[in-house]
Amino acid sequence: MKTVPVSTTINGDAAEFICAPDETLLDVLRNRMGLTGAKEGCGTGDCGACSVTLDGRLVCSCLVLGVEAEGAEIATIEGLATGDGLHPLQQAFIDHAALQCGICTPGILVAAKALLDKNPDPSETELRYWLAGNLCRCTGYDKIIRAVQAAARQMRSA
């Protein structure tokens, strides 16, 4: 299969890659760009572990072709912390024990950030529905919800 060159921006930096036309953005990120923070839990958009934002829109990177990223801005978990400082969501996940095995954590953090960017004060119900596409099998979601709420409070008061 003939590969295609793609120019894009990943976490604010210009990035170029080549990929096969049927290669997903998730595979490109993980296998070509060395960004293994996005995880493949299903490959069919059912688990959310591969969540990234594409031009500011939350998507499953397993449901995006790498070639579709031409000219787009992509943000992944690797870009969430700035310099030596964790994002408030990241800190809240540690402080509130919102992860056990941690495999779903990158996707949930990316998804939660997308929500708080749009709605700084979501209700618990809004939060639970927003995150319904991010499966977590360890926590029962409770501490995840508490952590996002705590981060949202902190971000509102900052």
């Binding site: 299969m1 688990c47 964790l86 941690g102 529905y129 099998r137």
Partner: protein, 747 residues
């Protein structure tokens, strides 16, 4: 090692909600899981799987696949060793079939190629000729004399002759005279139940990277609950010496028992051996559902007698489990656990395992117990309903306690069931008002908890920090708890301890992360390793001070003189001793190796409120509270997390999760779309109430926590649905079509 009763411990580090050491790696995407590793020259592996539930493999022709450009190796079951014990041979034959395929998705052959796409294309070129055989997936049908035989000659000697050859195991437990007990009852209820096979549903698919050189030395990176178990299985299956295989456990993205065995690891090693290059295999989600272990499916009969005052006079249960296409002993644990919560004069349980054309069972959180206890707790609840008794009072009246002869034989030591029930009774949840159409359910749960083989090494670094090397993959924050216990024992701050998880060449054997064993057994070993290091440090200080080692004691992270003849010396801190270690005899370390026992059984009680939509059969969980005796909670956040997570897995099992097969044995729902694990919006907050009844078998009183919480939700929700909707469902999951059908039949 017994609980430290004197002096009464005032914990400084244990019990604190510390930050986990792997937290930053896991919130930044830096942590490396099974699929995140790569190697120079790496090939990608892919596995060909059976489209049939049961078939003889007449021939496998790999010629065309081998000839495809980019294909570097093709293997089949013939590439594995022949001689090994029966249990390992079953694991081997599950990794690549021999002679017959036994379930839809059973691996048949594998390819390593320059890319995943080439490997997958090569699979299409492998020609397998099958002779399709009749199949059976239902446990009751499989036990019938005329059922298709999945494997012949696999029954152990305790199985009576004359049954279907699918019946591989039988067990019986209990004491007393149940018939006399039933005769003394005011009401006897006899019900039959079924539970569907459910999958652990870890979000990380199985993944590994194997590299074997021409000298036969190999390295394997994989996501597993136990790297030594992987080494033992793989070295036997590959015919290697264990010393030649080093297994490194990646960070693990969930396991729940499902990663206590191997599926792809021997295949990757065989491919690497043949290709002479590293080979990576990553399962797809479909492969995870089709070919890795779900739990058993079951069919259970329970009969219980009760007096009108609520005393249980006798209980019996017959459990028929299927662990899939290979012999499985899980039913013995179900049969022992079924009535564990009760103090009974007469109890008898019978267990049967039957082979079916389903994937080989893998352990799933408290294996065997949820199904059995679901059936028993449903019947206890129905007795309470019919006799108009409070279900919590009835549990208290009949609760097993210290001195009770357990349903599985031994007499209980100090256990926390009564305290847990009392906590539930006193909690506002139990008295909260319910609206019309809502119901409250209750169930007890139980798990044995295990210890097991454990090796720990603890090094005192020259700067006064401490390194711990342990061998159990950390699924839920155990590195934090281990570091806390080391810091507690040594009397130093938590932040000065770093715990890492070793590969199989760096430490003695460690059993898999299972049986709720890690915080208990590794904790016990780390405490002993710390005491070993403390003894060595005290001996060094005694030499420095010129006094007897017995005249030096360890208090708050420092050696102090003690006793009448010790003299007066200022305390020497761990850091001071460490800094002098090269001058005083060399590096200081402590270690401990043992097969730990005394884990201490665990009980939990769950309360749940549900609302049933009478027009659609949908059940909504409104409120959920978990009460559990955790022993000493080392890091309470992660204890609560186990309780919450286990409860939600149980909720999924109760309401929606199931393996669905068609008449030919094909799995119809091998994906997260139709295998429906709970999502965030399905759930209310899960409140976790920890009770700390010290385990007499651990110096800090730690008890296993992780498995018990999956046990009660099945019956708790069934009981709540029964009270909300007025219909008693006896089949799991209680999916909306089943609930609506029951409501419609009720009229």
């Amino acid at each position: 090692m017994a609980f430290d009763t004197e002096p009464k411990r005032d914990f400084k580090v244990v019990g604190r909600r510390v930050a986990r050491p792997d937290g930053i790696d896991k919130v930044t995407g830096r942590a490396l899981y099974g699929a995140d590793m790569s190697a120079p020259g790496m090939l990608m592996g892919a596995i060909l799987r059976s489209p049939h539930a049961h078939a003889e493999i007449v021939s496998i022709d790999v010629t065309a696949a081998v000839a495809l450009d980019g294909v570097k190796a093709v293997v089949t079951g013939a590439d594995f060793a022949d001689a090994m014990d029966a249990a390992t041979a079953d694991v081997r034959d599950n990794c690549l079939a021999r002679g017959k395929v036994l379930y839809d998705g059973h691996a048949v052959a594998a390819v390593a190629a320059a890319s995943g796409a080439i490997a997958r294309a090569a699979l299409d070129l492998i020609k397998v000729e099958y002779r399709v055989l009749p199949s059976v997936t239902d446990v009751d049908l499989a036990m019938r004399a005329d059922a298709p035989v999945v494997q012949a000659g696999r029954a152990v000697e305790v199985v009576p002759v004359g049954l279907s050859e699918n019946v591989t195991d039988h067990c019986e437990f209990g004491h007393g005279d149940p018939e006399a007990g039933f005769a003394a009852a005011d009401l006897v209820i006899d019900r039959s139940f079924t539970t569907a096979a459910t999958h652990q549903g870890y979000i990380e698919p199985h993944a590994c990277l194997a590299s074997m050189g021409p000298d036969g030395k190999a390295d394997l990176w994989c996501t597993t609950q136990g790297q030594w178990a992987v080494r033992t299985a793989c070295s036997a299956i590959l015919g290697m010496r264990a010393s030649q295989l080093r297994v490194t456990a990646s960070e693990i993205g969930g396991g729940f028992g499902g990663k206590t065995t191997v599926f792809i690891e021997p295949v990757a090693l065989a491919l690497s051996r043949k290709a002479g290059r590293p080979v990576k295999i990553v399962m797809s989600r479909t492969e995870v559902f089709r070919a890795t272990g779900p739990t058993v499916a079951s069919s259970i009969d329970v009969k219980i007698g009760m007096t009108k005052e609520g005393r249980i006079t006798a209980g019996t249960a017959t459990l028929r489990y299927t662990g899939g296409a290979f012999p499985c002993g899980t039913v013995a644990m179900g049969a022992q656990a079924a009535f564990a919560a009760y103090d009974l004069a007469a109890v008898r349980t019978f267990g049967w395992n039957a082979l079916t054309n389903r994937p080989k069972e893998a352990a799933y959180r408290a294996p065997g117990a949820p199904q059995a206890i679901y059936a028993v707790e449903s019947v206890v609840d129905e007795l309470c309903q019919k006799l108009a008794l409070d279900p919590l009072e009835v549990r208290l009246l009949n609760a097993a306690r210290e001195g009770t002869r357990s349903s599985y034989g031994p007499t209980f030591e100090a256990i926390g069931l009564e305290a847990t029930l009392e906590a539930a009774k006193a909690h506002p949840h139990y008295a909260a008002p319910l609206a019309a159409g809502q119901g409250r359910g209750l169930s007890c749960g139980f798990w044995f908890n295990f210890g097991g083989n454990t090796s720990v090494s603890l090094t005192i670094n020259t700067d006064g920090t401490v390194g711990i090397t342990e061998g159990n993959p950390d699924i839920g924050g155990s590195r934090a708890a281990i570091s806390q216990m080391a810091a507690e024992e040594l009397g130093i701050p938590y932040e000065q301890v770093r715990t890492v998880i070793a590969d199989t060449s760096s430490l003695g054997h460690n059993d898999v992360t299972d049986g709720s064993r890690v915080t208990f057994a590794v904790g016990l070993a780390v405490i002993k390793a710390a005491r070993d290091a403390i003894a060595k440090m005290c001996a060094r200080v005694a030499r420095i001070w010129g006094i007897d080692p017995e005249a030096v004691e360890w208090v708050d992270g420092a050696a102090r003189p003690t006793g009448p003849n010790a003299g007066t010396f200022p305390p020497m801190t761990l850091a001071e001793i460490a800094a002098l270690s090269f001058k005083t005899g060399g590096p200081i370390a402590g270690h401990h190796e043992s097969n730990a026992d005394g884990a201490g059984v665990s009980f939990g009680v769950h309360l749940v409120d549900v609302e049933v939509d009478r027009e659609t059969g949908a059940t909504k969980v409104l409120r959920y509270t978990v009460f559990q005796d955790a022993g000493k909670a080392v890091q309470p956040d992660y204890v609560e997390g186990q309780m919450q997570g286990g409860a939600v897995q149980g909720i999924g099992w109760a309401l929606n999760e199931e393996y669905i097969h068609d008449a030919e044995g094909h799995l119809l729902n091998p994906g997260f779309l139709d295998y429906r694990v709970p999502v965030a919006s399905d759930l209310p907050p899960i409140e976790a109430v920890i009770l700390e009844i010290p385990n007499p078998g651990h110096p800090y009183g730690v008890r296993g926590v992780g498995e018990t919480p999956i046990v009660p939700p099945l019956a708790a929700i069934a009981n709540a649905v029964s009270r909300a909707a007025g219909v008693r469902l006896t089949a799991l999951p209680m999916s909306p079509p089943r609930v609506l059908k029951a409501l419609t039949a009720q009229g």
